[in-house]
Structure formats: C-alpha cells, structure tokens
C-alpha cells in the first residue's frame, strides 16, 4: 500500500519538476554543509590526534619566539643556547631534556640538487628516543643513525620518494653541502610535512658540516617525570628561563608549550569553525523546510479540486494526509540524497585541495555509513515536518467546497 501511495506522491513531485528542484535547494545546501563538516571535522580531529598522539602529553617543547613567522631555525632572532638546555634539565619535574638543531641544507644525488632541512638527533639512545617520539619518526627501511654514524644519515619519506627523479635507496650516497654521506635509513610518513622533507643526522657532524655555532639550539624538548602535572613543569621552565634572561612575563623571547596545549587550542578552533558551519547549515535547513512548506501549501491550493475528487471517491482525512506527507518527505529525501552526494564531493575536494596545498595527506575525510543514512533520514524528517501543516490543510477541506473550487 505504501508503495502505491509513494507512487502517486512521487508522480506529483515529478510533475512540477522545476518547482521541486527549486524547493529542495535549501535542504541540499544545508545537508551538504552538514555532511562535509562532520566528515572533515572527524578527519581533522583524527589528523590532529595522529599528529600529536604519539608524542604524548608528557613532553614540553621550548622554541625561540622570533619577530617573523616561519619554521624554527629560519628567521628567529634569539636562539636557544646550551645554557638554556642546562637550566631546563635542572627544573624540577624534568626527566630528560635535549636540544635540536635545524638548518636549511643543499642536497644532491649527483643529478639534481635542492634545498631542504637538516634535523639533528642526539647520539645517545635515550635522548634519541625522545626526539623520535616527539616527532613521530619511525623507520620504514634501513636503520636509524646512532653513535659513530658521522657520515651516515636518515632521510624523510618525501625526500626519499618524491624529490629526486629516482627514489633514494638505503646505502645510496648523497651530498650535503660539500660532504658526501650515506643514506642508512628511510622514515615512514610522520604526518608532519616538514619532517617528511628533512635529512636526519647526528648533532655533532651536522654542526661541523653546516658550520653551526656549537652553543646554539633551535628547539629544546623536555621529557616530564611520570606523575607530574605538565602545566606545572611548563610554568617552572618558563620562570627559570625568564630569571636567567632577566625578563618579565610577556617579554619572553622564547615559548614553552606542551602538546596538550596545542591540541586544546586546535580543538578550540575546530569547535568555533564547527559552530559557524552548523549555524549556517541550520539556517539553510530551516529555509529549506520553509521552502518545502511553501511548495506544499501552494500544491494544496492548486490541487484543491483534486483533493475534493479524492474525498468523493472515498479518501479519508488520514489517507489524504499520508499522500501529502509522502510528497513532502520525498522532497526532503531527494534534497538529502543530493546534499549528501554534494557534501561527500565537497569533503573529498577539500582533502585533495589540502593535499595539494600542504603536500601531505594530513587531512582525511571520515565518511561513515551512519552519517550518510542519518543525513538522509534527517532530511526526510525535515520534509515531513514541513509538510504537516499543508497536509492537514488539505485533509480538512470540505469536499463540496473543494469540488466546486475553480
């Protein structure tokens, strides 16, 4: 029976093709926004936790605060020093602290020459683990550099796979500035495009090859003792460094941050963006619902005589309500289907655009079946709710008046 009612209702929707299309635009836009937002929002959160998850909340990063923007090591004015590292190590609650050096470097494989970053790692096992954990570095092929590897390096995934005409191989030699070194390992993608595009090398040879001041660091990473509150340690480090440099709060030339802080602020931004898009989607769905209501009310007026006929041949109020509700549900569902398709397209487009812009697959859309089904059910629900008033209007018509209606 439902199939038959649906058939009649669908026939009516198709009959006023252009009006039906115009009617569902609001629902299409609203549903597309909701679907794109939810799938990307989930993807963004996944990306953020993937980025920071492995680092853990028990590490604190100290970076110089320069006047300009840019990656650490490029434009910062006041570098961190070995004195800073010594002070950080003495702070209560710090288990282990290491310094890292970053520098642009010219690399050539004998054919092609390009600039990328060199990133230092400490030689001793425990410190090296701290750096690798904090940057989410994992070996894909070969091995990590360690004590004694003066002329050996590890390369990031992008350097190995994409920068040169032939992918770099383990045991291959490349030239850093004027020094020939051997690739002993290749990293897995880390999710951080800067690290993926880096050469990883022990700290001491790096300073030698690139003539870097032996007192300076670009980043200091501190591992917190178990059971200590990260934010307390963060504040103590900041205080000690201020004392050393003799500066007041707010005048620091350095920044102390813990990953949980970064994740929290990113999540806050996400929340705001979500709220804005949800607001727009809600308005658009509301407008869409009113559009359906308007169309259905017009249909009821236009089909007054038809309603009279349906009553004359035995249609009851509830049967006529059902017919009209099905019609508005079909409008809602059609808007939902098109909106979902558009929303999936939008989020995939954003993923591709994000990939093109950052060169990494950081942003992923997480599209789930419950999301798609839920969106369609919701759209049909909007259609039905918007149709209730016009449908009741239709069913309440007096049959004699309706039949006489011109």
């Amino acid at each position: 029976m439902w199939k038959e009612y649906g058939h009649v209702a669908a026939r009516n929707v198709r009959q006023r093709r252009l009006r039906s299309w115009l009617t569902i635009i609001g629902i299409v836009i609203g549903m597309a926004a909701v679907v794109a937002l939810i799938s990307l929002g989930g993807g963004l959160r996944t990306a953020i936790s993937a980025q920071f998850g492995s680092i853990g909340a028990d590490k604190i990063t100290i970076t110089p605060k320069g006047p300009g923007f840019g990656p650490p090591g490029s434009f910062s004015t006041t570098k961190l020093t070995k004195d800073d590292l010594r002070i950080v190590r003495q702070v209560n609650g710090v288990d282990l602290a290491i310094g890292r050096v970053l520098s642009p470097v010219q690399v050539t494989d004998g054919e092609k020459s390009l600039f990328t970053f060199a990133v230092s790692v400490p030689a001793d096992r425990e410190s090296k683990k701290l750096v690798m954990d904090s940057l989410n570095m994992k070996i894909d092929r070969g091995r990590m550099v360690g004590k004694g590897d003066r002329l050996n390096v590890v390369v990031g995934h992008t350097v190995a796979e994409e920068e040169f005409s032939d992918p770099l191989q383990v045991r291959q030699t490349i030239t850093l500035q004027n020094t020939t070194v051997r690739v002993v390992g290749i990293l897995k993608p880390t999710g951080n495009f800067q690290i993926d595009d880096s050469i990883i090398i022990l700290e001491e040879p790096m300073r030698d090859f690139l003539s870097i001041n032996e007192r300076e660091y670009d980043v200091i990473v501190a591992q917190i003792l178990e059971g200590v509150e990260p934010s307390n340690v963060r504040d103590r480090i900041a205080r000690e460094l201020r004392n050393e440099r003799n500066v007041e709060v707010g005048e620091e030339s350095f920044e102390v941050s813990s990953p949980e802080q970064t994740i929290a602020s990113l999540n806050n931004i996400l929340l705001v963006v979500n709220a804005v898009v949800v607001g727009i989607a809600a308005i658009s769905l509301l407008v869409g619902g009113i559009g359906v209501m308007n169309t259905m009310y017009t249909a009821v007026l236009q089909r007054t005589r038809e309603i009279g006929v349906m009553k004359a041949v035995g249609g009851t109020r509830s049967q006529i309500i059902t017919l009209f509700l099905l019609e508005s549900a079909i409008l809602g569902a059609a808007g939902g289907v098109i909106g979902v398709v558009l929303g999936v397209g939008l989020s995939q487009g954003a993923v591709i655009a994000g990939q093109a812009a950052t060169g990494s697959a950081l942003l992923q859309a997480s599209i789930s079946l419950p999301l798609l089904l839920g969106a369609m059910v919701f759209a049909s629900f909007i259609g039905i709710v918007s149709g209730i008033w016009p449908a009741r209007q239709a069913a309440r018509q007096d049959p004699v008046d309706a039949l006489r209606y011109e």
Partner: protein, 227 residues
C-alpha cells in the same frame, strides 16, 4: 415509511446556509425514496437544490435537519471518516466537469477509489482495465485526461464510479459539457449499466437525458414537487 426495500430514503431533509444575518435554504424539507436498480432523473430549475440533494445522498454533505437513510442506516449524523468510507464503498460519482486527476493515466484514475479501499495493486489494475474495457476504452488505458476527448473523459469517470462496485451511481449533469451525439453515447452506457443492475440517479436539465430514466423527480425551491 418503514419500507425496508428502499435503497435511499430522505425524510424532511433541510439544508440551511447561514450567511451573516441572512439564511438561505437550499433544501426545505425534501422527502423521497429510491429503490434498488432504479434509474431516476432529478429535474428542476437552476438553484432549486438538485446538487445539494445529490451531495446529501452521496455522503459528501450533511443536512441541517431531517434524516437520510442509506440501506436503512441513518447517515445524517455520521462523522467525517465514516462518511468517507461509505462514499468509497457504496457511492459512485460522475460530475459535469469529469474531475479526473490530470497527473494520473486513465487506468490510474479508475484504480484510485480502490487504492483508498486497500485493494491490492494487482487486483486494482485488473479491475480498472476490465472497467475501461466495459466503457469501450481499452485502447486508452495509459492516456492522460488531457489526451482524451470530453466524451472519453466522462467514460473514464464512469468507469471510476464503478470501481468499488457501488450501490448507486450519482451523476450531476453528466452530459452538461458534451455535445448531443456524445450525450447519446454516454446515456446508452448508463442504460447498459442500469440493465446490469446498477442503481442510477441523474441530475439533468435536458428532457433528452431524462427520458432514459424510469422515473423523474421534480424539485423546486428545495422541495420535491412531483415524483
């Protein structure tokens, strides 16, 4: 007055319209009886209450006074949904304006009354096709009303009126929009249906139409003046 053989019986039926302070009386105490398998014509001047009477008999409208019996059941006080069911099961309407649904094909129009009676799709299509065959339209099953002539549309409407095998067919000036040749064809069809046992009540101005009936009821100013 307790004649149990009547199909339809009206007792002092009144329909008074209140328009502000003014009242207009469309029916002012009409009484009549219709028997099964009759073919009755109702005649009267314009505004005499013919359509109002038909709507009462057809359960489309309720009287402001008096009683209407359909198969001994008083329908004058029934609720809306019960009336709708009675219309669907016992009454077949034929209108002057045909009143087919423009978006549906001939077959679907004829099947519509059965949809409301929850007849299965298979049975609906079978019976609709059978009825269209009866009115000689088996070549036009899938045509829309706009693709049919006036006479053909009225035959579809007749087939639709027969869909649920009603007790009575009520036709309010069914040939009012048709030329005289088509009128003859439609009236022949009514006669055929009547011969097959269907009760028919027809409202008309035309003597040419009324002469097909076995009995003519005259109405004037809302009262029956001769049966």
């Amino acid at each position: 007055m307790t004649d149990t053989s009547t199909l339809i019986r009206l007792e002092d039926v009144e329909k008074i319209y209140q328009m502000g302070d003014v009242t207009a009386s469309a029916l002012a105490g009409a009484s009549l009886s219709i028997y099964p398998k009759e073919f009755v014509a109702i005649m009267g001047p314009s505004g005499s209450g013919k359509s109002t009477l038909m709507n009462m008999v057809g359960c489309l409208d309720t009287p402001t006074g008096g009683k209407i019996f359909l198969e001994q059941q008083d329908i004058s006080k029934l609720g809306e949904s019960r009336l709708a069911q009675l219309r669907g099961q016992k009454i077949g309407f034929v209108f002057q304006q045909f009143n087919l649904i423009g978006t549906l094909t001939a077959l679907e129009n004829v099947a519509l009354p059965m949809l409301f009676q929850s007849v299965s799709q298979h049975e609906r299509r079978r019976r609709a096709a059978e009825l269209l065959e009866l009115v000689d339209l088996s070549e036009r099953l899938h045509h829309r009303p706009s693709e049919l002539s006036g006479g053909q549309q009225q035959r579809v409407a007749l087939a639709r009126a027969l869909a649920n095998d009603p007790e009575v067919i009520l036709a309010d000036e069914p040939t009012g929009n048709l030329d005289s040749k088509t009128e003859e064809a439609i009236m022949a069809l009514f006669q055929k249906l009547n011969k097959d046992g269907t009760t028919i009540i027809i409202v008309t101005h035309e003597k040419t139409v009324a002469r097909h009936a076995q009995r003519i009821i005259h109405i004037q100013d809302g009262v029956i003046v001769g049966a």
